[in-house]
Symmetry: C2
Subunit: 392 residues, 2 copies
């Protein structure tokens, strides 16, 4: 059958993630690949209690169609938390619940992006965002990333040269690099975007996963109506329930609302009620502290193993939170090639390529330490170290 597909459907390729999924069925495979949280961090018992409570107390209303905005109690919880934790005032009616923050990216694309528009992203950037923006047939331009955040000189040059509608940034524990923007850089970026009227998409799923210090101030808090702030419970509670959100100005909110209404009407009301009951009945901060302690330890174990087994020519990017370690192999060494060698040794990770726009055989790679035991982290790094040693 000769289908007449839309052009946009011919642009996105099978993602590398699908390739990696193939190897994850084998329990012997040590996985540093997906951004999967550690299932031991899921509050399984508490969510079970919450689910029982919801079925008992709320009856059939939780199984009925619900409003597109999302559950009001949940939006109030998120609003209150921004107020208490970061002194940001975002009313509940400017928070739209989405099926993961990934879905917010899709709807932002739908509301803003025409074929041929330009969007700026960091280099490297989140592969899922690149995939989503690609489906909107836009010109994706990249801006250099330094150890304290985006390169301001490159940023202004790209803004002036490309006149982008949107810029997509992950300022806290960036995926894949692990980098966090300094406070000064956050303010400077806000000032520059404000001056040039570029709308910021600020993706902020990892902010609570700090191993020292505290939660960081979103760039959006300096920008008001010129920004969209995305959040998620996927990394902190459960990704399978698909609950994220986007905060937007009233005018943009209306457009995102209509986009969601025409797309899936609303996100699961059952999941939202289970989640908000969990959040209200339990100490979320205590849960987050336990999660941080676990990830901080696993992060340190991975760094220690890297120091022990990797040749000194491998560059390790600094990070103090999130779920990833970003590495650069010696120049000219392909991380895709390393991937296929590592698969034979039953270790997987994500090679750099999908985090770039049109880069092949990048020498960078992303390792997640979230989802493996201490022993398997050390063993996996040992195997990778051997392979890298052999290639130098």
């Amino acid at each position: 059958m000769d289908y007449r597909f839309a052009r946009r459907a011919t642009l996105t390729q099978d993602s590398f993630i699908t390739e990696i999924f193939k190897y994850l069925q084998d329990k012997e495979v040590i996985s540093f690949s997906g951004g999967f949280p550690n299932p031991l961090t899921f509050p399984l018992t508490e969510l079970q209690v919450s689910a029982q409570k919801v079925f008992l107390n709320e009856g059939s209303s939780v199984l009925q169609y619900a409003t597109t905005n999302g559950d009001l109690d949940l939006r109030r919880f998120i609003s209150e938390r921004y107020h208490v934790r970061q002194s940001i005032e975002i009313p509940a009616d400017q928070i739209l619940i989405t099926s993961g923050s990934q879905q917010a990216l899709d709807y932002i694309g739908k509301v803003f992006l025409e074929p041929g528009d330009t969007i700026l992203i960091e280099e490297p950037s989140y592969l899922g965002a690149i995939q989503t923006f690609t489906s909107y047939e836009v010109d994706i331009q990249t801006v250099k990333l330094e150890e304290d955040g985006i390169d301001l000189i490159d940023l202004e040059a790209k803004i002036i040269h490309h006149n982008p509608k949107l810029i997509y940034l992950i300022p806290s524990f960036q995926n894949p690099s692990g980098i966090s923007y300094s406070q000064d850089k956050r303010k400077a970026v806000a000032k520059m975007l404000d001056k040039h009227n570029v709308i910021l998409i600020e993706d902020d799923p990892y902010n609570e996963l700090y191993y020292k210090g505290s939660v960081q101030q979103p760039i959006s808090s300096y920008l008001k109506d010129k920004s969209l702030l995305l959040g998620s419970f996927s990394k902190t509670i459960s990704p399978g329930m698909r609950v994220g959100w986007v905060c937007a100005s009233i005018e943009v909110y209306k457009k995102l609302f209509t986009a969601k209404e025409a797309s899936d009407l609303h996100s699961s009301s059952l999941d939202q009620r289970i989640l908000v009951n969990y959040l209200i009945d339990n100490d979320y901060d205590e849960h987050l502290n336990a999660l941080r302690t676990r990830y901080a330890l696993q992060h340190q174990i991975m760094l220690d193993a890297i120091a022990r087994y990797f040749p000194k020519e491998v560059k390790v990017y600094p990070s103090s939170g999130g779920m990833f370690v970003w590495l650069e192999l010696p120049e000219g060494m392909s991380s895709v090639k390393l991937f296929y060698e590592a698969v034979k040794d039953k270790v997987v990770f994500v090679p750099g390529d999908p985090f770039y726009v049109n880069k092949k055989h990048a020498n960078s790679l992303r390792l997640s330490f979230a989802n493996e035991t201490a022993e398997r982290i050390t063993e996996g790094i040992r195997r990778l170290g051997n392979l890298i040693q052999q290639s130098i």
Copy 2:
């Protein structure tokens, strides 16, 4: 702030549904409006048991990221049911789980529709589909609907004149008209679409809601690779859980998969596991029989009340299933005007306008009998009858 929105985001207006929602907070208001199933039909206790079982037996895996395809057991259940009930062979790997079948419409739009393409729909048609297709900036052309299905002469003329990529049909208990296609017409439509290479989107959420006879044969079963068949548990189990599906050829499936991956990764794995455990552990057909008995009774009560209270000039469309009664007021009478009068009498319904493309003050209207008691159905119809009498 002067936002540079995409053109598509400026085309879809606030839907009339949002207008109706305003009145639904008031419990005194008798609602014949939304396509909300009756909450008494939700298998609340059984889903509660299923949720407990899922949390106890499956542990954290149900809270983790899952594959974009959807739960394999659930897809197998759907596949097996097509085999047993309708003798249609659809392998589980050609079924994609979506967040309601509404979401499948959005992804089909994403995969097929370019601005300026033509899509054919029935007149009248489902307002949510019109809203979704409008967001893809396409030319929506309508084909006349007769009491046994679409008008074949008008259909062929429209195909030849407009060269549509897609046609969107709801052949069983159509929303809003309640009409079902005869078996002969189904075959004739299939033959015509096959001949002209028009891809069919067959939306089939009401097929199980028959009050006599049995489940009807989808047009898709005569078309193979030239059709997409959509289904949903929203009308039969729970809309709040947002579980629907789309069946597609392998080539189209790949595109829909990528569209979903770039949009929300996957639908809630928790909800899918709760649902499939419910389906496996309970007698779904027994549940459906109880639901059919309830709706058949409420349907009859509404028809009886209409016969009693409505002037004979009001035309009632024939239907033997689904959730709706479709009416035509005397020529020239506006159902939107009637709506605002009825609101004062605390009765709401959906006026005809949103079911058409660019029609204002249509004389048709849709009444849902699903979500009210016998007494309130009769009382609501009495009030509407009075208002219509006064306007003649």
